[in-house]
């Protein structure tokens, strides 16, 4: 496969301004006046070296190559350099060092509605925005009907867009960009706007674009979308390339790194959430899923593992209550009810693990209450810690469609099947 984009050692350094990023003439004059002093200091070797000056490395020696026809997701936390990378690839800003070879025309969609003017009609804006995105006028004229049909604004196409609803505005703006026909398409987090139905259509269009063999670089926080659309994924962290590979692998790595920073295994001996009257038995708790500490992805196998030490041998019961971040219980599990381990040998200490084979939680942060008890003491739990640890759940393309239930549908997702059949007497 030949590469479509080759990035070699790209670095972007921003100077950190104390105030506004631009200078006034007065400052320039002051700098000019101070230049001789600076020069003499430099000769005596007392000047601050340029490297000590306040710089921000937005991108630090990033290299990778993207094959023709690949759809590549770019992930990383805010400030990791994702947008800077797209801005450099789309020539909005220049790299400080490094080289980029582009083997095709580049179209970029870093924002919905770039170049739209509220006073102009939908028709005028389609032409204007299309030209700004790099289309020739004849090309826009050819695609005009398709654009308007995609946006579903036929009736209002000669109305100034300031009278559009925000939904219509976004649809029209996206429609123009979606009809760009460059070999390389750069897309920033633009799917985050618009209503759910529109987002679905955007994802559909992105999938369509991907199938036409064009090369797409796609920044998103929507892991489900990345997983369903992309064949490969780039992870950036603090301006450095952290990894590149299959999306599921890279997304897992990203989450692991995110959580490692917060610390996965938590010390429980002196936890402030311990209920009064508890016997300190829970020593530490670890929440993990395949390769991820402190949480997991939707639908993944999740394990809550506790180290305990008891003053006398116990047959431990371990209950876990999962609560939303604001403390509302969602569900709880306990082996006291399932009677697993009720007949086991009593232990003075060890490890008890509670496993969820398919975590049914929507993305978000959750709190865990932990209850350690003894089958020999059915009336009460011996050690109770409320809000013991947090559980981080990350999105995953659980249905294989790039779509997820909406957050307003609740914190839990569930499997279901549908069946449609014709009813015989419908024409009677």
């Amino acid at each position: 496969m030949r590469p479509m984009v080759r990035v070699e050692g790209v670095t972007k350094r921003y100077r950190l301004g104390e105030r506004e990023p631009y200078f006034t003439l007065r400052e320039a004059l002051m700098r000019a006046l101070a230049a001789p002093a600076r020069w003499s200091r430099a000769r005596r070797g007392t000047a601050r070296r340029a490297a000590d000056a306040p710089y921000l490395l937005a991108l630090d020696d990033v290299s990778f190559a993207v094959d023709a026809g690949a759809v590549v997701g770019i992930i990383g936390r805010n400030g990791a350099g994702k947008s800077t990378l797209l801005k450099i690839l789309s020539r909005i800003t220049e790299p400080t060092a490094g080289q980029i070879d582009l083997y095709g025309r580049v179209g970029s969609l870093l924002e919905i509605g770039t170049g739209f003017h509220p006073e102009l009609t939908g028709r005028d804006n389609v032409f204007l925005s299309g030209a700004i995105l790099g289309m020739r006028r004849a090309e826009i004229a050819r695609k005009f009907d398709a654009i308007v049909a995609f946006a579903e604004v036929e009736k209002f196409i000669d109305t100034p867009v300031k009278r559009y609803s925000s939904g219509m505005y976004v649809r029209l703006a996206f429609a123009v960009a979606a009809h760009l026909e460059t070999e390389i398409l750069l897309v920033d987090e633009v799917l985050a706007v618009g209503d759910a139905a529109f987002q679905k259509r955007c994802l559909g269009k992105m999938g369509e674009v991907a199938r036409t063999g064009r090369t797409v670089l796609f920044v998103s926080h929507n892991m489900a979308a990345i997983e369903s659309l992309c064949q490969s994924c780039i992870l950036l962290r603090g301006g450095r390339l952290q990894g590149i590979g299959p999306p599921s692998e890279i997304i897992t790595r990203y989450m692991t790194e995110e959580l490692l920073e917060r610390g996965g295994g938590a010390e429980m001996s002196n936890h402030p959430g311990r209920r009064r009257g508890s016997i300190v038995m829970l020593r530490s708790v670890r929440v993990w899923s395949d390769g991820v500490e402190g949480g997991g992805r939707m639908g993944a196998r999740l394990v809550v593992e506790a180290n305990f030490a008891a003053p006398r041998p116990i047959r431990p019961t371990f209950a876990v209550t999962i609560k939303s971040a604001n403390g509302a219980p969602i569900f709880g599990v306990s082996n006291r009810w399932t009677r697993q381990g009720a007949e086991a040998e009593p232990l003075r200490g060890g490890l008890i693990a509670c496993e969820f084979p398919r975590l049914p939680l929507m993305p978000g942060t959750y709190l865990l209450d932990l209850y350690l008890g003894d089958f020999g003491d059915p009336t009460r739990d011996l050690d109770v810690i409320l809000d013991a640890v947090t559980l981080e759940v990350f999105p995953s393309d659980i249905y294989g469609t790039g779509m997820l239930p909406r957050p307003i549908d609740g914190p839990v997702f569930c499997d279901a099947t549908w069946r449609v059949q014709e009813v015989g007497d419908s024409d009677a």
């Binding site: 070699e8 631009y22 020696d61 190559a65 790299p95 582009l102 924002e111 102009l120 030209a131």
Partner: protein, 304 residues
């Protein structure tokens, strides 16, 4: 720095002979497939960018047209404003300088004499003032999409040119009213207008680029333009200037252009010497400004 190369394609094991053949083919393909575009960090100079500007001529036209359309949106008189402004100024100037102060006008009716000068000056003034704030005013475009930045001040100059064309139509009834001859000299008008556009673009690009970095330009420029107007023969003819200062006045590129614009409308002989100086200054100014613009352009998105 340990720059690692990460390739996305998965390597598939193949018989070595086949792989070698492929490698050969790849290297041939590599030589044939040059990158369409290479972006290099820390490069210094990339030319004046006129070729790329030509590639984006559709965008230039559309932005010009947007500028024109927006300017007269929700006005009752619309495009008529392009005529009213210079017309009223001309009436006031004629009363004040022509009748009251009795400034000379080389024997032509003062109204038409000053109107030609005002048309040129109004265009220059609008184009330069508009250009100077055009980049900052379009920061949303500059930070979100790539296109040759020259297009933005270019569109402002284009819109001003459109206004000039509208306002110039008034010359026809004026010339009929004063029973002036329509000579072949009028055919030179497009050339002088082109020169005027070059001067306006030259000053406009310079101001636009500097204003991104130094916002002082916005405050200093109106004052500069006011002074410039008085040192340009608009309300007075060049002959009004003492002979020993005429060489200095001639260095102002507008001098030669306005004098010759008048010559073609009033059917006088052209001032070739001043035209030559103006052309020279105008072209050097445009090249210099484009050079400055292109050098600062690389930082626009980071500074704006």
């Amino acid at each position: 720095m340990d720059a690692e190369e990460f390739a996305i394609d998965s390597a598939v094991d193949r018989p070595t002979a086949e792989a070698a053949a492929d490698a050969l083919q790849d290297s041939v393909a590599d030589r044939a497939e040059r990158p369409l575009l290479t972006i290099r960090g820390g490069r210094r100079w990339t030319g004046l960018g006129f070729v790329e500007l030509w590639k984006y001529r559709d965008l230039l036209l559309l932005l010009t047209w947007r500028e024109i359309k927006i300017r007269y949106k929700q006005t009752v008189l619309g495009i008529v404003w392009a005529v009213i402004q210079p017309l009223l100024t001309m009436v006031i100037f004629t009363l004040l300088f022509g009748k009251l102060a009795r400034l000379p006008s080389d024997g032509a009716p003062y109204a038409i004499f000053s109107y030609v000068g005002l048309l040129a000056w109004n265009f220059f003034n609008t184009a330069v003032a508009g250009s100077s704030t055009s980049l900052v005013g379009n920061s949303n475009l500059i930070t979100k999409v790539y296109f040759p930045r020259l297009v933005i001040p270019g569109a402002t100059v284009g819109a001003a040119l459109f206004d000039l064309a509208i306002a110039a139509t008034l010359l026809l009834p004026m010339m009929l009213f004063y029973q002036m001859t329509f000579s072949l000299r009028l055919l030179m008008l497009p050339i002088f207008t082109l020169l005027l556009t070059i001067v306006a673009s030259g000053v406009g690009l310079w101001a636009a680029a500097l204003n991104v970095k130094y916002r002082d330009v916005r405050y200093a420029l109106p004052f500069l333009l006011q002074v410039w107007m008085f040192v340009t023969p608009i309300i007075y003819p060049i002959s009004f200037v003492p002979a020993r200062w005429r060489w200095l006045i001639a260095l102002n590129p507008l001098t030669g252009i306005i004098a010759n614009l008048r010559a073609s409308v009033l059917d006088r002989s052209f001032d070739w010497r001043n035209l030559f100086i103006s052309t020279l200054v105008a072209v050097s100014l445009l090249i210099y400004s484009t050079y400055i613009f292109r050098r600062l352009e690389r930082e626009f998105a980071d500074l704006i």
